[in-house]
């Protein structure tokens, strides 16, 4: 579903601030895989996600989504294939627009936006059902301005928006990091449900090792712009936090204590 071939990303190339953020990433994610991505600060997790999303062009390499070569496409032209949820709950929704307007914008992702009405009545009905499934009581607030919703509610709405028209790929970028623990748990539960029910292929970045272990069916650890650990199947099911810390220590060649500080 997602294939990266020797992807490099160099920021500020040729300047004193030059930073090689991705060093020849090769990655092949199959349909229906739910991949969690962990790694310390500056490991290249977000850079990897942004490369896939098309935030900027990669320096070298090719990216394929569902067989389409998207390397040369900017983010808005890849959007029909991708659903995204950002770390900042404010980024995923238009705060001054109504809840139903936001959902309607997402429903038209990848479609031509013409002079038809922005939100139709059938759509409102569908939105109400989908919102009810979230269990946050949002189904009665279709015309509320998104800005009046809490961070957790906004993240849940962004998740719904990202999954509305069956994207080939769902990208979650530490989407619970800015939420309080209880809300984060709720949003994670919603994420897991949506990925299962819609049978989505998903790439989720997290700072939380427990989440990375508990969720999904494949785990990738990044360090200094490369993928250093790639675990799936039964090995992933039996993985413990200590295994993971040990693996990181082995690969990165640093002391275990510093790692736990970095990773937990």
């Amino acid at each position: 579903m997602l294939r990266l071939e020797n992807v490099w990303k160099v920021f500020d190339q040729g300047t004193i601030n030059q930073k090689v953020a991705l060093k020849g990433i090769d990655l092949n994610i199959k349909e229906g895989e739910f991949v969690t991505v962990i790694g310390g600060n500056g490991a290249g997790k977000s850079t990897l996600l942004n490369a896939v999303a098309g935030t900027w062009p990669v320096t070298r390499g090719r990216i394929f989504i569902d067989g389409n070569d998207v390397t040369g496409l900017p983010d808005y032209k890849r959007a029909s294939l991708i659903g995204r949820v950002f770390q900042d709950p404010m980024l995923g929704t238009a705060s001054e627009m109504q809840l139903e307007e936001n959902l309607a914008l997402a429903l038209r992702r990848g479609k031509k936006r013409g002079l038809g009405w922005g939100v139709t009545n059938e759509e409102k009905k569908m939105f109400r059902e989908r919102l009810a499934a979230l269990g946050l009581g949002l189904e009665d607030r279709l015309t509320a301005q998104i800005g009046t919703l809490s961070g957790g509610q906004r993240q849940a709405v962004t998740l719904l928006m990202a999954s509305l028209n069956a994207p080939k790929l769902l990208l979650l970028d530490e989407h619970t990091a800015a939420l309080d623990p209880a809300t984060a748990a709720k949003v994670l539960e919603i994420s897991d449900n949506i990925v299962r029910e819609e049978k989505l292929t998903c790439l989720m970045i997290t700072h939380n090792m427990t989440d990375a272990i508990n969720l999904g069916n494949r785990l990738i650890m990044m360090n200094e712009g490369t993928i250093v650990v790639d675990i799936s199947g039964d090995e992933k099911k039996q993985l413990t936090k200590n295994d993971l810390l040990q693996k990181f220590a082995d690969v990165a060649g640093v002391q275990e204590e510093t790692d736990s500080v970095l990773l937990s």
Binding site: A53, P74, D75, Y76, K77, A79, S80, I82, R84, F86, L91, G92, T93, A94, S95, E96, M97, E101, N102, A104, L105, A106, R108, R109, G110, K111, R113, G114, L115, G116, W117, G118, V119, T143, Q145, M161
Partner: protein
């Protein structure tokens, strides 16, 4: 002259007599402010192109009505020998205004020039363009006695309903347009460009459409104002962006004071027009108080600075280092 003499010299009847003129002008400039509203509030950018495109609209309208303009264009509207239809002149003004906006949009999107600077560049260029449109004269008169003008300062009471109907029609069209899929995409681009890109919206294209539509409306308003005042002048757009802001902000404050909570989009736009009317009522009042007309622009700038600053000062009052130093102003427990 003593203060008492000054107050005796003020004639209430004269104020009443001048008020309808203020209303008519307020509606027409309010229409211009609707264009400003699109960029300032919906796209979230300050577009100074309007200072030029307003005069462009006036110039195009007056030149066409008074028998000028390219022969092919006159032929298109069957006016080769006769009168160029007023509606067609305004349509052309709108069209040329759209082009002005596209120029700013292209400077911004393709050359990466900040929107405010792109607007300043277009506006400066338009000064020369406008002189060319007016065949190198800085002022062209258009008499209501000779041409079928829609509005005129000579027939104020007849002009008010005409201006109101045109404005209402444009509010209706904008209400429809910004409710469509494309209009929603423009609004979301102004509100949250990151989210809009992620939802597959070409935000540069949306900004371009916004600039174009905004300046089209501004130029149309320029065409109407030129008719109302009986001439097109190369300087008629000076201060238009600030007057537009004044109308938008006055409308904002008034609508928030009257309605609590969600305000319908059409009502918001109607309040922009009301903002224009209030602005011109204040201008009439200031003139009636015998203040120097040359000070009007200073006065306008002060009002806009005040209204733009008030929300900031209010938030500062709620939360400032100065009050924190005094032990805080709010109730932390509640």
């Amino acid at each position: 002259m003593s203060v008492i003499d000054y107050f005796y010299s003020l004639d209430p009847a004269k104020l009443l007599k001048n008020l309808p003129g203020g209303v008519a002008q307020g509606i027409l400039w309010g229409l211009m402010a609707l264009g400003v509203y699109i960029t300032f509030r919906l796209l979230n950018v300050s577009d100074l192109t309007v200072e030029g495109s307003f005069a462009t609209g006036g110039a195009v309208t007056v030149v066409l009505i008074t028998g000028g303009g390219p022969a092919w264009l006159r032929a298109v509207f069957g006016a080769s020998a006769g009168q160029f239809p007023t509606w067609a002149a305004l349509l052309m003004a709108f069209f040329v205004g759209v082009l002005c906006g596209l120029v700013t949009g292209m400077l911004h999107s393709y050359l990466g020039i900040p929107a405010i600077l792109a607007g300043i560049l277009t506006q400066l260029a338009l000064f020369s363009v406008n002189l060319h449109i007016m065949d190198m004269s800085s002022n062209i008169p258009v008499s209501v006695d000779k041409y079928p003008l829609y509005v005129s300062g000579r027939y104020v009471l007849r002009s008010i309903p005409v201006a109101a109907v045109i404005t209402a029609a444009i509010i209706g069209i904008l209400y429809w347009y910004f409710g469509t899929e494309q209009g929603s995409a423009i609004r979301s681009t102004g509100n949250n460009p990151v989210m809009s890109s992620a939802q597959g919206i070409d935000i540069e294209k949306m900004k371009m459409i916004g600039f174009a539509l905004s300046n089209g409306i501004v130029a149309l308003a320029g065409g109407l104002v030129a008719q109302y005042q009986g001439f097109a002048d190369v300087n008629m757009g000076r201060g238009a962006s600030v007057i537009g802001l004044a109308a938008v902000i006055i409308g904002d404050v008034a609508s928030r004071a009257i309605f609590k909570g969600h305000i319908n989009f059409a009502v918001k736009m109607a309040f922009v027009i009301l903002g224009g009317i209030v602005y011109y009522a204040v201008v009439i009042l200031v003139l009636w108080l015998k203040l120097d007309t040359n000070d009007l622009k200073l006065f306008t700038a002060l009002i806009v600075a005040l209204f733009l600053g008030i929300p900031y000062l209010q938030s500062k009052k709620r939360e400032s280092f100065a009050s924190a130093a005094k032990g805080g102003s709010g109730n932390a427990e509640t």
